[in-house]
């Protein structure tokens, strides 16, 4: 028997070997994997803190950890999850990998800056870890003054500087994406032929470039005030603490859209491919991303309804917050309309997409509850708020991230994952998530405040449910970690286009060659044109 040994196609994983070839790489695909490794580590770490928090809350008295330790736990959980996991999650991994591939070019506009931004991210992360090892920080991820500047007895400056540094990585990634999307699209790839993932990455990048510097300078001022004991925000020294909150939320509200817009982009891709239809109302979905980016900058005051902000300002912020829900709703309606009469297949990524749509809707709707002045005064700083944002960030973005990882995994690694296990874990994640966070809406509404390690016994039943759910959720996250790693070595080799999708990234080999395409693609149709694909396979 003669076996023809095909020469292995050179791809970006095999064309160079060794640690050095990774640490000095300028290939956007390898940098995406560097980020993937780093943020997976941070996610794991943030998860450990969450586990201890949930264990402490199993019983009403504060018996597992002291209140001081508890403060550090939720602070580190929030800081690591938001700044070191959620913000870079989709943009720095999937975005880095896919932006050049989807627009048909060889790399991002500035590959060296791309690598630099990974190092900056790692430096910021290392500083935060160092602060954590020295004893951590107990201000919450919000660093409210004057507690953070004058009273906290923990490593505030180190942590703030760490976030400051990591912020620049976010800025540089955004800048790189904007320039790339503007200047490097393949011939024929007009703005309205772009995949919706690109539109949402674009909108995200604008927020990163314009929002992040403000938190950077705010944290710098906090560090200056704390380091030199001079009053910028501390009222006892002549400053104004509410000004700090304005500056903080001017970034941090838009930042929530840095976290969710990329997820929405992923969902647009998934919904389209697994219902084999063009996304309904393409232009509306595209522009809703831009609208969210713009409106997102105008609503920060809804975090400050009880901060002594003027009632008139609160009224306007409340109104604008309702406005920002409109583009979010447009997306949800259009995804649903895309499903209508589609030929839907229930592959794992699509299961995650369904999860996203449902959970994001709940998160977004409770957002409008919170934007209602009267209601917010009742539930602000309770578990209702905690449930709201976890529905969006964990129920939404995390689902999209996992869905996207599954969907593009064959392209990234050249191997298929195990579909059975994947479906099972998608289900476990969905159930675990709801069990963890739905009870938090109820207890928050009933008055359970956030950030306390002890609570009255009547809330225990909800906390027990929540902790039970968290254990299920942890299992749901652990299973993919195992089969993904397994698949990297032993998975079935993936075809170039396992899902029969239309995007440019599927027209090159899996994994792609170092410069992405053998020949520069020329685009002649709109995105998601499944009728053409069908004709091609039939004819």
């Amino acid at each position: 028997m003669i076996t023809a040994i095909a020469p292995p196609r050179e791809n970006y994983l095999t064309h160079e070997y060794g640690i050095k070839s990774w640490l000095l790489t300028q290939d956007h695909k390898r940098i995406a994997l560097l980020y993937l490794g780093a943020i997976s580590f941070f996610f794991f770490l943030g998860g450990i803190f969450a586990t201890i928090i949930r264990l402490e809350l199993l019983t009403p008295p504060g018996d597992l950890v002291s209140s001081q330790t508890y403060n550090k736990l939720f602070s580190l959980h929030g800081i690591i999850m938001i700044f070191l996991f959620m913000i870079p999650s989709i943009p720095a991994t999937l975005g880095n990998f896919l932006v050049p591939m989807m627009i048909g070019c060889k790399d991002l506009a500035f590959p060296k800056i791309n690598l630099l931004s990974w190092y900056i991210f790692m430096a910021g992360g290392a500083l935060i870890l160092y602060a954590m090892l020295r004893g951590g920080v107990d201000t919450g991820w919000t660093f409210y003054v004057p507690f953070s500047t004058s009273y906290a007895n923990t490593y505030v400056i180190l942590t703030a500087v760490g976030i400051f540094i990591a912020g620049f990585s976010s800025i540089l990634t955004g800048l790189n994406f904007i320039v790339t999307i503007h200047r490097m699209r393949a011939p024929g790839l007009t703005w309205f032929r772009l995949p919706l993932f690109i539109w949402s990455m674009y909108a995200t990048s604008v927020i990163q470039v314009l929002g992040t510097p403000v938190i950077a300078v705010t944290l710098l001022l906090v560090a200056v005030e704390r380091g030199f004991h001079i009053g910028i925000f501390d009222p006892a020294l002549g400053g104004d603490p509410v000004l700090f909150q304005h500056l903080f939320w001017f970034y941090s509200h838009p930042a929530v859209y840095i976290m969710v817009l990329p997820g929405m982009g992923v969902i647009s891709e998934l919904v389209s491919v697994y219902s084999r239809k063009r996304v309904f109302g393409y232009k509306f979905v595209a522009f809703s991303s831009v609208a969210i980016a713009v409106l997102g900058f105008l609503v920060w005051g809804h975090h400050m309804f009880v901060s002594s902000q003027s009632v008139y300002a609160s009224l306007i912020f409340s109104f604008l917050s309702f406005m920002v829900a409109v583009p979010s709703a447009i997306k949800v309606f259009n995804w649903t309309a895309t499903l209508y009469k589609g030929s839907i297949s229930y592959d794992t990524p699509m299961l995650y997409a369904f999860g996203f749509i449902g959970l994001f809707t709940i998160g977004g709707l409770t957002g409008t509850f919170l934007a209602t002045l009267g209601f917010d005064v009742h539930v602000t700083d309770t578990y209702f708020v905690v449930a709201h944002f976890h529905y969006i960030m964990v129920g939404g973005t995390m689902m999209a991230y996992l869905g996207g990882l599954h969907y593009w995994w064959p392209k990234i690694t050249g191997r298929m994952y195990h579909e059975g296990w994947a479906k099972l874990s998608a289900l476990v994640v969905f159930l675990g998530f709801n069990l963890t966070f739905f009870p938090q809406f109820i207890m928050g509404y009933l008055g359970m405040p956030r950030r306390y390690h002890a609570y009255p016994p009547e809330f225990q039943v909800y906390h027990v449910l929540s902790t039970a759910g968290a254990s299920v959720l942890a299992v749901g996250y652990l299973i993919p970690a195992i089969y993904f790693i397994w698949a990297m070595r032993y998975g079935q080799p993936a075809p170039d286009n396992p899902w029969g999708a239309t995007g440019l990234e599927w027209q090159t080999s899996s994994p792609p060659p170092p410069e992405n395409f053998e020949i520069t693609p020329v685009v002649t149709q709109e995105a998601y044109d499944y009728s053409i694909l069908e004709e091609m396979t039939v004819g």
Partner: protein
Amino acid sequence: MANHTLALRHQFDDVDQQKDASTFGMWLFLATEVLFFGGMFCCYTVYRSLYPAAFGAASNHLSVIWGGVSTAVLICSSYFMACSVNSAASGRKNALITYLVLTILFAATFLVIEMSEWHNLYTEGMMPGFNFTFHEGDFRHVQLFYCMYFSMTGLHASHVTVGIGILTVLLIRAARGVFSPQYHTPVEVSGLYWHFVDLVWIYLFPLYYLVARHVHAG
């Protein structure tokens, strides 16, 4: 010609695209910078409108003369930067080197003047956190003025310092003959940055040295 293809990095199709991308990237970076400084300008604005009298009193301790001189120096530096870009575009290597040296010298002069200003304020006891002995009137908000003053001029000075570093690298590359009329994007892009740094000072100078001065206590 060989030089010109060498300078084209692999991800671009042609030199124009590469140049376009770099320039656009720098403009975006400057947008980031605007918001970076913007946060501090916002603090300044809020506090000045809350405590006009204290800000007026505080600003009378700054030397308008030296502030004016450093403004002039920085504008000259910016002018020589523009000349550098011009020389690079027309391929005059020696002129480029001369103008870059002048740009750097004026920038360094600016820093020297600023540091001596800081030193004076320190000896007068007007430096919060290090030596602040001023106790007349609404001294807490005078202190706030100086907190903002040192934070903002400090941030600006750090940008000038970074700028001097960039210009020095340009100078070395210019001396090696890297730049040509076909390829001088780094000079142009650094020029954008440098003018931006200058522009920030053009706002800082009046805000700290001039406008508040006319507000009188009472």
